[in-house]
Amino acid sequence: LSPGEYVAAAYGVVLVVLLAYVAIIAAKLARIQRQLAELLELTRRAPSAGDGGTRAGVVERA
């Protein structure tokens, strides 16, 4: 490889590693979003009578 190609490789490695890191963070955020949707579904399905206090507490903590 020529020196110029090594320079391009150095900058390319930085780009690839940073993109991989951002992709991992994005995947984790997508998982969190899925879990949040599941929890929301769970609270919607919960019977409304008798658990008003629990619901209020959940909303407050969230």
Partner: protein, 223 residues
């Protein structure tokens, strides 16, 4: 949180400007030629790595001093960032070494070996952390370990001045930076860009981990 998108955009713009300056404005070095342009990405990444490890140790000290649990996560995320930038330092440094010396690594260079020791020390931090159960004991043990590692940062940083080899010539001396003004400005822009990028990534990862912890707590409360 509102400032995060603006900071991310600023980091991207600075990085673009820094790369433009490094490739099209900064003059080519006399001896190194085109391969010297790796300097504008390698050195800022290495300095950012030191900064992240230092930040992790500072947060660890605050955890031990104040006993506030939030510093545990902040310390962990900072060290995680330091390890990522440390990996990039080793990768870009090896590429520079290959094109300059003809081989990927030199065990004879104190600077290289000390940085590797620092990097491996903080890699072992994760082994320690994940071998313990979550709780105050893990937080304290991790904090103490992170604080021990901070001693290696000045040693690694100063090794460049103590080493008698020509592998890492001293560029920043008491007389000022040994480079042209254009080179120095390009370097400073790249350094600011990489530091800001690391800070943005630190905040995003921290935010994700905090939301994840809150979700876990919420799930436990609902079950």
């Amino acid at each position: 949180l509102r400032s995060l998108p603006a900071q991310a955009l600023l980091a991207a713009a600075l990085l673009g400007l820094g790369i433009f300056l490094a490739f099209f404005v900064a003059p080519e070095a006399d001896v190194e030629g085109v391969r010297q342009r790796i300097f504008y990405i390698h050195v800022p990444i290495a300095l950012t790595s030191y900064f992240c490890f230092g930040l992790g140790a500072w947060k660890a000290l605050q955890l031990l001093w104040r006993g506030d649990d939030r510093y545990d996560l902040e310390s962990y995320v900072a060290i995680h960032q330091g390890t990522i930038f440390g990996t990039l330092t080793l990768l870009t440094g090896s590429i520079w070494a290959k094109t300059s010396w003809g081989h990927w690594w030199s065990w004879g260079s104190n600077q290289l070996v000390l940085f590797l020791v620092l990097f491996l020390f903080y890699c072992a931090y994760f082994m320690l952390r994940f071998s313990l159960e979550e709780g105050p004991r893990r937080a304290r043990s991790s904090a103490v370990y992170a604080l021990f590692g901070v001693v290696l940062i000045p040693v690694s940083f100063l090794a460049i001045r103590l080493a008698n080899d020509l592998v890492h010539p001293t560029v920043f001396t008491r007389e000022g930076p040994q480079m042209t003004a254009t080179m120095f400005v390009s370097f400073c822009v790249c350094w600011a860009a990489v530091t800001l990028l690391a800070y943005v990534l630190y905040r995003v990862e921290l935010l994700g981990k905090r939301i994840d912890a809150d979700l876990r707590e919420l799930r436990e409360a609902l079950s």
